[in-house]
């Protein structure tokens, strides 16, 4: 499942919803990315996340397909937020579920790495007086 949304989410609820759809889940691995308070020696007030929505959905669907081919995963969820987020807020969550831990660990890392490189999202950090688009 792929969700690109402004609103915050509850990690436990999202994982439980995913897990309860299947009868034989043995492992869940997840990654959650948060807005940092300090980055590159600068105090961050908030970030603004922009997305090319249609393409982001397509790229993330592609990576989920790739991950399902490479590992024995039952399902996965990717949630990526956009808009203005303040420090400490969640930006992204990737969770993969499988029978065995190796598949969920490896596929979660793979999906997150691909997302960082290929999914069309852009982050602008907002400081006290200035702002900068990040370069990855």
């Amino acid at each position: 499942m792929i969700k690109i949304q402004k609103k915050d989410f509850y990690i436990e609820n999202e994982i439980n919803k995913l897990r309860k759809s299947y009868s034989n889940v043995g492992a869940v691995s997840n990654f959650i990315g948060y807005v940092k308070k300090n980055n590159n020696n600068k105090k961050v007030n908030s970030i603004y996340l922009e997305v090319y929505d249609k393409m982001a959905k397509k790229k993330l669907e592609e990576i989920v397909k790739k991950a399902k081919k490479k590992w024995d995963i039952i399902d996965c969820i990717i949630i990526h937020r956009f808009g203005k987020l303040t420090t400490g807020e969640k930006i992204v969550m990737v969770a993969t579920i499988s029978k065995h831990r190796k598949d969920s660990f490896s596929s979660c890392k793979f999906i997150m790495s691909y997302l960082k490189k290929e999914a069309p999202f852009w982050k602008k950090e907002i400081y006290n007086k200035k702002s900068t688009w990040l370069k990855n």
């Binding site: 997305v51 069309p120 852009w122 688009w133 990040l134």
Partner: protein, 82 residues
């Protein structure tokens, strides 16, 4: 064709999208040439390698692909989500 600009590119063009249909635009290179002339402050980024990425109909391209009038072309800096 529909052209989309994202992140700091929007500051250079002053818009997030526009329709450009010009007989001279046949492929990616001729589109970039057209855009360089229309927005001179984008030229140095277009001319440098690895500064911008291009997607045609939601698919990344690094080649000089042929373009059609109904294509959606997105031009943007390297991604920085997650």
């Amino acid at each position: 064709m529909k052209i989309l600009y994202f992140a700091w590119l929007k500051n250079k063009t002053g818009r997030s999208k526009e329709i450009i249909n010009d007989k001279k635009i046949k492929d990616v290179n001729s589109l970039l040439n057209f855009i360089s002339k229309k927005y001179p402050n984008l030229r140095k980024y277009i001319n440098k390698k690895d500064i911008l990425r291009i997607a045609i109909n939601l698919k990344y391209t690094t080649k000089n692909k042929r373009l059609n009038n109904n294509d959606e072309i997105a031009i943007f800096p390297p991604v920085s989500g997650g």
